[in-house]
Symmetry: C2
Subunit: 170 residues, 2 copies
Amino acid sequence: MRRFGFYLVAIAVTVCVVAVISSASAQSAGSVFVTKIPVGYRDWKLISVAHEEANLNSFGAVLGNDVAIQAYRDGKLPFPDGAIIAALHYRFVPSEENNKAFGQTQSFVAGDPTNVQFMVKDSKKYASTGGWGYGHFSQDGTPGGDALLKTCSPCHAKAVRDSVFTRYSR
Amino acid sequence: MRRFGFYLVAIAVTVCVVAVISSASAQSAGSVFVTKIPVGYRDWKLISVAHEEANLNSFGAVLGNDVAIQAYRDGKLPFPDGAIIAALHYRFVPSEENNKAFGQTQSFVAGDPTNVQFMVKDSKKYASTGGWGYGHFSQDGTPGGDALLKTCSPCHAKAVRDSVFTRYSR
């Protein structure tokens, strides 16, 4: 009986240790979302621009780190690990000043910033979401919740070029 | 009569020489237009994005060299000599691929490139056009003609921040 009790405790401890290790792993190496804003992204090079109507009504500038830009310019698919793509979103607003200069209503510019989104390529860490980790940060740096972030991968999976919608503008 | 003829010829020659010197000067140091595409502009940092409807129907990305970006970030006006602002223009086109993913028509992207325009700050060289030299190059690198370039400065002079329309997007 004492021996049985020893085994029971040993098994319980082992299960707990494994559970703790798995949990720690899921929070760091295994997280499927990007939880920190990549440093220096505002200085990255331009990939292209984008505008979404409807509810989003956004004006976007899509930038890439050096790994992403090189892959784009070389036409390399899938994107290599280390590639990061940033989508800077602003309100899509008319410009009164520009329209006055043109003498007619025709000019739209980037208004207040709304959010910045990231795709980080790490084929092991983000294997469950096509090799891309997705991140969303409001203008004040608040990360998007899991419910929002879970919608990224299924939609991006529809993009024909390695889950990436934006093409490079020469 | 011979003396009068001599003076007439002398005056004519002088006028011609002055005209030739003026012309040469206008084509080199005194040119009011930018005649060469600034090296490496495609790698410059993002200032903002822009869209023009009507005849232009353009999608623009506005980039700046380091001098321009620093001035923008510091809120420095007028822009210092050496600042260069580049406007990369593309067709404003709907994206079928994106619309399919969204399940509705809402997405516009940069289509074929149309031209790239530059504003180069040199308060002495371009003194006659507010300190800015203006350049326009078609996608194949062909510079815009004088008739087109002469329209830049009067329009930009209407911009309230040192002839620059585009504001910096944080």
